[in-house]
C-alpha cells in the first residue's frame, strides 16, 4: 500500500512525527538552544507531497534559508510559490520598511500589528483555497518574536486563539511554533500545548552537547507520547529511540 518514495514512510523525521490529516492543530516548542526549524521544513515536505496548500509566516528565518533547506530535502519552495501552492508572509521585511517612518513605526498601537497579521493570513488562506478542494496549512515560524516586537502577552494569546479558530473551516490546519526562554514565552507555549492535537517539543540534551546526538524530540499526542533522539546531518535528520544512537550511527 505504501510506496518507498512516500516521505511519510521513508523520511525518519516524518515517520517519527506521524502527522495525519486528522491532526488539525500542531504546536512546536523549542527549548533554549535547540533548533526546531527542521520540523517545519520537514512538514513542508509532507504538505507539498500531499499536494496541500501552505501559508508560511516566517519571523525567524529568511526565505532563502527555507529554499536552501528545501532543496536538500527535495522540494522547491519558490516554484511552489510561483505555482500559487504556497504563499509566504515575511513580517521581517515590513519591519525593515517601517523603521524610520515615524507615523506607523511598529505602530504605536500594538494591537494593530496582530490584527493586520491576522487579516493578512486570513486573506492568503482564502486565496489559496479558492476554487479547489485542497487542504491548507497555516505555519507560523516562531510566535515568540511577537514578544520582541513589544506585543503584549494577552494580545498574543488572542492572536493564537484567532489562528486556531481558523480550523472552523474543515480544510484548514495550523502549525504554530514558539521558542521558550523566559517565563512569558512559556505562557504562549502552554496555551498552545493545551489546544494542540499534536505537541512536538525539541530540546537540547540536558547533559550538554554530544557528537552522536544533536537533541531530544518529544511527540506528544492525546493517546501516546513518544520520545526520540535525533542527529542532524548535512542532508537530513536521523531519529532514533534513546539509547539506539550507537547502533544507528555506526551501522
Amino acid at each position: 500500500m505504501f510506496s518507498l518514495s512516500d516521505p511519510r514512510v521513508s523520511n525518519p523525521v516524518l515517520s517519527a512525527l506521524k502527522i495525519k490529516t486528522g491532526d488539525r492543530i500542531i504546536s512546536i516548542k523549542e527549548n533554549s538552544t535547540a533548533d526546531s526549524n527542521f520540523i517545519l521544513t520537514h512538514l513542508i515536505k509532507q504538505i507539498l507531497y500531499e499536494k496541500n496548500r501552505l501559508c508560511l509566516v516566517s519571523f525567524h528565518n529568511s526565505i532563502e534559508h527555507y529554499q536552501y533547506v528545501g532543496k536538500k530535502l527535495g522540494y522547491d519552495l519558490l516554484r511552489a510559490v510561483e505555482e500559487k501552492d504556497v504563499s509566504i508572509l515575511e513580517p521581517i521585511s515590513e519591519i525593515v520598511e517601517n523603521i524610520g517612518l515615524e507615523e506607523n513605526y511598529f505602530q504605536e498601537d500594538k494591537e494593530n500589528i496582530v490584527k493586520c497579521l491576522y487579516h493578512d493570513i486570513k486573506r492568503n488562506l482564502n486565496d489559496l483555497m479558492l476554487g479547489n478542494e485542497a487542504k491548507a496549512y497555516l505555519m507560523v515560524d516562531d510566535l515568540s518574536h511577537l514578544l520582541d516586537l513589544g506585543v503584549d502577552i494577552g494580545l498574543i494569546v488572542n492572536f493564537v486563539n484567532y489562528c486556531v479558530n481558523l480550523i472552523d473551516d474543515e480544510r484548514v490546519a495550523v502549525v504554530l511554533s514558539s521558542h521558550v526562554s523566559s517565563k512569558i514565552d512559556e505562557i504562549i507555549v502552554n496555551n498552545l500545548q493545551y489546544l494542540a492535537d499534536v505537541h512536538i517539543e525539541v530540546s537540547p540534551l540536558k547533559t550538554g552537547r554530544s557528537t552522536d546526538v544533536t537533541g531530544f524530540l518529544t511527540v506528544d499526542r492525546l493517546s501516546e507520547k513518544n520520545q526520540y533522539h535525533f542527529k542532524a546531518f548535512d542532508r537530513g535528520i536521523k531519529t532514533f529511540h534513546p539509547g539506539e544512537s550507537i547502533f544507528h550511527l555506526h551501522l
Binding site: 527542521f38 536552501y68 533547506v69 527535495g74 522540494y75 525593515v96 521558542h179 526562554s181
Partner: protein, 548 residues
C-alpha cells in the same frame, strides 16, 4: 621502424611474423600511443578509456600504418582485443571518479561562463550528485569561477571524513532544470565582493572577523546578513579587541563601516585599530620548529609522523588579514575608508516604540546608512561592498531608559526588540553586525531572547581579577571563550563544535582562540612536595613529626 611498417603489407604478414617481431610491433604501437596521448592525457587528467575510445584509436593507428585492409574496429574486434590484453570493465571510484566528473562540471561551467546561471539537466545532476556532496560541488564551481586551483586542496583536505559522516541512504533531491546552487554562485560572482568568500557548506557569503582562529571556529568566517552577539568580559577589554579586529579587517578589505558607542567616543575606537601585517605571524616560528623536529623520537616513535596541530583548521583557506595589536593603523588608511560614526548625542524624542529613544535613533541611522550605501539585497550598485556594523557596549548603563519610564535595566525588552530589528535589517542587506553587550549587568534569563534573535552568540570570561588568574594550568591564557550559539543558516545542521572548552589569549600580533588542553602535571609536583615539609618544629626538616 618505417622499414618494418613498409614490409607489413597485410594483416596476414603480421600473423606470420616471429614472436620477437610481433612484440616489436606492439611495443611501437604502444609507444606511439603513449607519446601521442601524453599531452592529451595531461589535459583530460583521469579520463577513463572506454570502448569507443579504443575503437577510434585503433582505427587511427590502422590508418597510419597504411595497410590495405578494411579494418573497421568492430565490436567483435573490441571484445577480442579486450580479451587478448586482459582489459576488464571496472567501476571508477573515489578520487579518480571525482576527477572525471570534475572535468565534466568544469567544462559545463566554462561553457556557460557568459550566462548568469548554469543549466544542468536532470541526468547530469543526478550523476554529479552521486559523486560529490554539495560542499564539494560548490568548491569546484568556485574553482572554475575564480580560475584558481581548488581541486588540489579539495583532494588533500579531509572531505572524505565529511562524506562518511553523512547518511548514505538519503536520496538525491529531486531537481528538474536549474541547478540552483551553481546559478546562485554565478549570481554572486557578478558582485565579486572583496574580502568575502563563499561557504563550502551552504553557499553562504562569508567575511572574515579579522581573527583567523575565530573564523575557523565559525566555519570560515561570519556569514553576511547575520548578527554576532558578544557577551563582554568583566572589564570589556577583550571584547573591544575582537570588535577592533572586526573593524580593522573591514578597513583593509575596503568595506564600509558603521561604528556606534555611547560609552566611549567611537572615533577613538577607530583610531586604535590594529595595523595590518603582511605575513602570518606564526609562519616563521613554524618553519624553525619543523627544522628542529628532525631529531627522532626514541620512545613514542609511533607518533613521530603525526601532525602536531589539528590539520583540519590549517587546510581551510583564510580570507582575512593579520594584524599587529601593538601598532595603530595609519591615518591615511583610516581617512580613505568609508566610516560612519554614531555617538548618540543627537536624540529626538520621537517614537514611543523603545523606552529609550537612543535605540530607535540608532536603528534609523543604520537603516539610512544601508540605504545611502545601497547595501540592500534589492539594490544594484555599480560596485558591491559590505557594511560592517560594530556596536560597542550596547545596553550599558548609558542606554538606560529615561527616569520617567517604569523599566529598569533588568528588563532588557528594549535590547530584545533592538536585536530583533537589527537582525531584520541585516538579513535584508549586504551587512554584518557585531555587537558587544555587558551582560554581567543583566539577569541571565533576560538574555535568552537576545541570543535567540542573534545568529552567533559567544561569551568571554577573562581570568584577570578572578581566582582563576593564579591557576597554573591556565597561566598561558587570558580567559575562557564560550560559543553559546552557532545558528544553522541555509542548512539543517549547525557547525557547532560540541562540548569543547575554548580559551583565548592575546599576544602582540595575535588574538587566538584555542582548545583548552591542561598541561602535564609536572610543575605542580614540586610545589606540593615543598608544602609537605613541615617548616616548624624542633627537629630537622627530614625527621618525622613523631620522632623525639
Amino acid at each position: 621502424m618505417s622499414q618494418l611498417y613498409e614490409n607489413i603489407k597485410e594483416r596476414r604478414v603480421i600473423k606470420r611474423l616471429s614472436i620477437a617481431e610481433k612484440l616489436q610491433v606492439i611495443e611501437d604501437f604502444k609507444n606511439g600511443m603513449k607519446n601521442k596521448d601524453l599531452s592529451e592525457k595531461r589535459e583530460h587528467f583521469g579520463e577513463p578509456v572506454t570502448g569507443p575510445v579504443l575503437q577510434a584509436k585503433a582505427k587511427q593507428f590502422h590508418a597510419s600504418l597504411n595497410v590495405d585492409s578494411n579494418f573497421s574496429a568492430s565490436n567483435g574486434w573490441l571484445a577480442r582485443f579486450k580479451k587478448r590484453h586482459g582489459i576488464r570493465c571496472l567501476n571508477i571510484k573515489g578520487q579518480k571518479r571525482q576527477c572525471v566528473f570534475r572535468e565534466e562540471l568544469k567544462a559545463l561551467l566554462n561553457f556557460n561562463n557568459n550566462t548568469d546561471s548554469v543549466r544542468i539537466d536532470k541526468d547530469q545532476y543526478e550523476r554529479l550528485y552521486n559523486v560529490f556532496n554539495d560542499s564539494q560541488l560548490i568548491e569546484i564551481a568556485k574553482g572554475a569561477i575564480e580560475g584558481s586551483d581548488y581541486e588540489e586542496e579539495l583532494l588533500n583536505s579531509n572531505y572524505n571524513k565529511d562524506s562518511d559522516e553523512e547518511s548514505p541512504n538519503l536520496p538525491p533531491p529531486s531537481l528538474d532544470e536549474d541547478f540552483v546552487l551553481i546559478s546562485y554562485l554565478m549570481e554572486k560572482k557578478i558582485h565579486n565582493i572583496p574580502g568575502t568568500s563563499l561557504s563550502i557548506q551552504n553557499g553562504q557569503l562569508l567575511t572574515s572577523s579579522g581573527i583567523p582562529s575565530l573564523d575557523s571556529l565559525l566555519g570560515g568566517g561570519l556569514p553576511v546578513g547575520t548578527v554576532a552577539f558578544i557577551e563582554e568580559d568583566f572589564h570589556g577589554s577583550y571584547s573591544k579587541v575582537i570588535l577592533k579586529y572586526f573593524l580593522a579587517e573591514g578597513v583593509v578589505s575596503k568595506h564600509s563601516i558603521f561604528i556606534a558607542s555611547q560609552d566611549v567616543n567611537p572615533s577613538s575606537i577607530i583610531k586604535e585599530l590594529p595595523a595590518v601585517i603582511e605575513s602570518e605571524p606564526d609562519l616563521e616560528s613554524k618553519v624553525s620548529k619543523s627544522s628542529n623536529g628532525s631529531d627522532k623520537m626514541k620512545i613514542a616513535f609511533r607518533y613521530q609522523n603525526l601532525p602536531t596541530s589539528d590539520s583540519s583548521t590549517s587546510t581551510m583557506k583564510h580570507i582575512g588579514h593579520y594584524f599587529d595589536i601593538s601598532k595603530n593603523m595609519s591615518f591615511s588608511d583610516i581617512e580613505n575608508s568609508d566610516i560612519c560614526y554614531w555617538t548618540g548625542q543627537r536624540i529626538e524624542n520621537g517614537s514611543k516604540t523603545f523606552s529609550n529613544p537612543a535605540y530607535n535613533e540608532l536603528l534609523k541611522s543604520i537603516k539610512n546608512r544601508i540605504k545611502e550605501g545601497k547595501f540592500f539585497l534589492k539594490d544594484n550598485p555599480g560596485k558591491r561592498s559590505i557594511l560592517r556594523i560594530g556596536i560597542h557596549c550596547l545596553g550599558s548603563p548609558m542606554w538606560l531608559p529615561h527616569r520617567k519610564s517604569l523599566h529598569s535595566i533588568d528588563s532588557s525588552r528594549d535590547l530584545d526588540m533592538f536585536i530583533f530589528c537589527l537582525r531584520a535589517l541585516v538579513r535584508s542587506a549586504f551587512a554584518v553586525a557585531v555587537i558587544t553587550v555587558p551582560t554581567h549587568l543583566y539577569h541571565e534569563v533576560s538574555l535568552d531572547r537576545c541570543i535567540h534573535s542573534s545568529d552567533i552568540a559567544m561569551r568571554l570570561q577573562a581570568f584577570s581579577g578572578t581566582e582563576l588568574e593564579n591557576n597554573q594550568s591556565l597561566s598561558d591564557y587570558h580567559g575562557f571563550f564560550y560559543l553559546t550559539k552557532l545558528a544553522a543558516i541555509n542548512s539543517l545542521v549547525s557547525r557547532h563544535p560540541g562540548s569543547i572548552e575554548y580559551v583565548f589569549k592575546l599576544r602582540r600580533k595575535k588574538f587566538s582562540i584555542e582548545v583548552l588542553h591542561l598541561p602535564p602535571d609536572i610543575q605542580e609536583d614540586t610545589n606540593t612536595k615543598k608544602e609537605n615539609f613541615p617548616s616548624l618544629g624542633c627537629g630537622g626538616t627530614n625527621k618525622h613529626l613523631l620522632e623525639f
